[in-house]
Symmetry: C2
Subunit: 300 residues, 2 copies
């Protein structure tokens, strides 16, 4: 089976390295410079003191033609638009696509795709790209995948095959799966990025914990969560399990990159607006992060 | 005329240095070490490239007996309680007291005082204590003073005498005077401390400015401001005039000190509670700062 991976950031490199153990993988990069680096060096995966090198074919994204049995799209949500356009040029071929973006804002974009089999996934690994062809796995989590539209059999057997080398769980229902991840991201990412603290501090510091409860209450109301205690337990669990990690949003700001705040808070803010509900805390977090992005941009 | 100044932080030292040009000043310090340092070196006032040294008598606070014609209390609000107790031991003598705390939470404490003439002031100078006897004046602003209880004639003539050497304005109405300062502090201090930015950034960065407007709207509702546009204009004006300054709350956190967040946000939060109004943004800021204080405390 042939697998294409669009995007060679931390998640793209991690998936390419791991999936190449069972599949024939081609990774598609934004720059030809990165494709050349991967073709020359392979993908280096660091995990603890272990280092493995995987030979993986790399091509610039402009060479993608949807020829693989499955294409995994591992770019940030704000980079999706040109990729969706490219995909729509090749929809005469049968195509299986798996989208790994954070948040839920990209679901609307997926509706535009003419492809039959669309899958979505939520990644819970801690990975950090160290250079064009090297990725460090800081925390082995799992990837949850579900059908967004189309046939489930392909995804089911793919997940079974992957699970032999890399944790991946097939989920029956995409909406709850993405919503749970979204809420965890909305709770943890902006606060850790603003406060410049590790994830664990949010539950260890009694004042941040109080703030955390207030914020969760606002999100619960906006998203009409039916069993909020389950979502709450998951958020607390993630904070504790990743206590020593820097969230992706904190890392983005540290590296002077754009964050995924629009993907993560934008969706909930739009929901609030649609239902004419107030969202003062989320708005405050949103503007704090957008302001920080602006400051970082000015510094560049 | 004899003037006592309780507290030798940045504001206490600044007032002692300036008022000693026209009055006989005694400064009362928390530690006898600081009193000794001031008696030995005088108070050094730095302003731009200028340096002036004022010979001022210093005594430990335990020596204060209310013998001066006026005592200025220049400690932080959270340090007031033991001082109020000490003052109440000496209320057999006629006593004029001027309190220079930020916020409005201390007004309740002042009601406990048996003294007749109570004045309050709000200081708009930018001053930084550099060591036990040295203070740097970063921005010459003014001090507004008003009668809280008692006779206005003393304060009026005192203000006139001071004005010859140091900007000081007599105000007719203490409540609005303190409220204006409180609102400016509530808007500027927590945000600059959380974001670690200079005051000017809050109005220059379009996202922080949007946040600023939302926050002001919440404060307006809680405090039932009748002419909000006047308060808003003042806040913006302060941000622009002190664009390059670090707010006192930012400086407190940088120096790993407690902040005045209870004095500044506590009063407005209590007002919200009393009127059963929501205060989600102020609460978020409050817990962010309290959490930061806790982090700083842990580091010490």
């Amino acid at each position: 089976m042939r697998v294409g991976i669009i995007g060679a950031g931390s998640i793209g490199l991690l998936f390419a390295a791991c999936l190449s153990r069972v599949f024939n993988v081609t990774v598609y990069t934004r720059t030809s410079e990165q494709a050349a680096a991967i073709n020359k060096n392979g993908i280096v995966l660091l995990s603890g003191s272990e280092e493995t090198v995987s030979k993986v074919e790399a091509l610039p994204i402009t060479d993608w033609e949807g020829l693989e049995d499955l294409t995994i799209i591992a770019v940030k949500q704000y980079q999706l638009v040109p990729i969706i356009e490219r995909i729509n040029q090749f929809t005469d071929k049968p195509c299986n696509l798996l989208f790994l973006q954070n948040g839920m804002g990209h679901l609307k974009l997926l509706e535009q795709l003419k492809v039959n089999n669309l899958f979505v996934g939520s990644v819970e690994h801690g990975a950090l790209k160290e250079n064009l062809f090297t990725v460090r796995l800081n925390g082995l989590g799992t990837t949850n995948v579900a059908v967004f539209r189309g046939d489930s059999r392909f995804l089911f057997s793919f997940t079974a095959a992957v699970s032999r080398v890399f944790p991946m769980n097939y989920q029956e229902e995409y909406f709850t799966m993405l919503e749970k991840k979204l809420i965890a991201n909305a709770m943890i990412n902006p606060l850790t990025a603003i406060l410049q603290v590790k994830n664990g501090v949010l539950v260890e510091n009694p004042f941040y914990f109080k703030l955390f409860q207030n914020l969760f209450s606002e999100i619960t109301t906006i998203l009409n969560l039916r069993k909020p205690e389950e979502y709450w337990a998951q958020v607390i669990n993630i904070c504790k399990k990743t206590a020593d990690n820097h969230s992706s949003m904190l890392k983005d700001l540290e590296a002077k990159r754009l964050t995924e705040v629009d993907a993560i808070l934008g969706y909930i803010l739009q929901e609030a607006q649609r239902q004419d509900k107030k969202s003062p805390q989320l708005e405050m977090l949103y503007y704090l992060i957008k302001g920080k992005e602006k400051q970082v941009e000015v510094l560049k």
